[in-house]
Amino acid sequence: MASSRDDFVIAIRSAFLKKSYQQKFSLLTYIFLSVIIVILGSFNFKPVQYVKIGINEIVYRSSFIISIPENYLKNLTIKLEAHLSLYDQFKKNQTELKNLKEKKLNNDFLILENKKLRELINETLQSDDLYAKVLVDKDSPYLKSIILNKGSKNNVKIGMAVVDNSYLVGKIIEVNYTNSRALLLSDLNSKIPVLLEPIDIHAVVSGTGKNHGVIEYTKDDYDQKIKDQKIIVYTSGYGGLFKPGLPVGKIINDKKTNENIVTFFSDFRQLDYVKIVSYEIGSGN
């Protein structure tokens, strides 16, 4: 009995403390080092943050180069899918284009009217756009985020909105000198204040870790109100993070689960270039 316990202790000691050929430190040293890094990182210890920023600068660029073959495969799959559904897509687009042309005339009038009304109440809405290339789109099971090639050098700040054409895709959560990381709307930790139109209900869209979001924190029971209605989700601008009125997605009923889900307008798999947007509501007074 004592002998088997001794064997176990010897095996454990040897595993953790024995330095193999050409190993400078034992396994236990490295384990301690990583635990110390985790603990210091959790307290936002400055030197660890600087090390992280330093690694980020090198790693993001290297990751972009190494991901080229995988990205090529990904684009090939998307192209093939597009080719296979070409005719159906064309027919659908034709109908949609006709509808959109009609709507555009109406929209042009509304934009002009909105501008005049803002002038009337002396309110200005200034926004700065910055174009960024997506270096890496790590759609890992743990974090849905993208790495952009613009950082603090280009005045990118934490919390800025990231849009694809005019659709919201996420917000900046980490800024390095030449690059930054944006958390996608689909991530589990993403929560943004939105407005459901035309029923005019404020809510929060949460990511699910999948390719869609869900509506949370509605005061009213909105399920009844959205029946037979086409609901579009826009940013509400609450909290001052996002510009109000950025289109996010639309609410559809998931037939599998019979739940209302938010399908995002932007396809997060196909992001090449995005806009980083900051805005300011100013008063003319």
Binding site: S14, Q23, L27, V38, V48, I55, T77, G209
Partner: protein
């Protein structure tokens, strides 16, 4: 003379293939998400580290594994140090297995891998969820662990072929 130089170059290159694979996998983090197979993912780095450190730690030094973990944290966006800790725990299990095993047995190794990935994924989930307050999808972790476990025999046979080649070059 030139063939001798060529041989030694191939020998050196083959010896560094496991390290090359490890750094490529952490920098690339192959996810197969573009295939739109819901929940399909496996952790190639876990399999790689488990196999090569179990065979012989000379192929993958602890220092390079530690560095690969830091890089993985940066790429995936996890708090820095967590992946290094998890990778080194795999090394600890394989070092222990090497010490207690006289004749290697595939089934024992496979079961040990399952135990190891369940342990390190639990540590990762607990530290992310409770210490760093990052919400994680438990189901995804479970499925990731399952696929990693299931894919081990496939990669084992591929790595065995590679290891034989490395050994042959070494004996030459």
């Amino acid at each position: 003379m030139s063939s001798l130089n060529k041989n030694s170059l191939i020998k050196a290159l083959l010896f560094y293939i496991p390290i090359f694979f490890l750094f490529t996998s952490v920098l690339n983090e192959i996810d197969f998400n573009y295939l739109e197979i819901e929940y399909f993912s496996f952790n190639f780095a876990y399999i790689l580290i488990f196999y090569w450190t179990l065979k012989n730690p000379r192929y993958l030094s602890y220092g390079s594994i530690f560095l690969a973990g830091l890089i993985n944290d940066v790429v995936v966006g996890l708090p820095i140090g967590i992946s290094s800790f998890c990778y080194l725990l795999i090394c600890a299990v394989t070092a222990y297995l090497r010490n207690i095993t006289i004749t290697p047995n595939f089934i024992n190794d496979w079961i040990s891998l399952l135990f190891t990935i369940l342990l390190i994924n639990s540590i990762q989930v607990v530290s992310l969820d409770f210490i760093f307050s990052i919400e994680v999808n438990y189901m995804r972790y479970l499925i990731n662990s399952g696929f990693t476990f299931l894919f081990y025999p496939i990669f084992l046979s591929l790595f065995n072929i590679l290891e034989k080649k490395i050994k042959i070059q070494k004996n030459d």
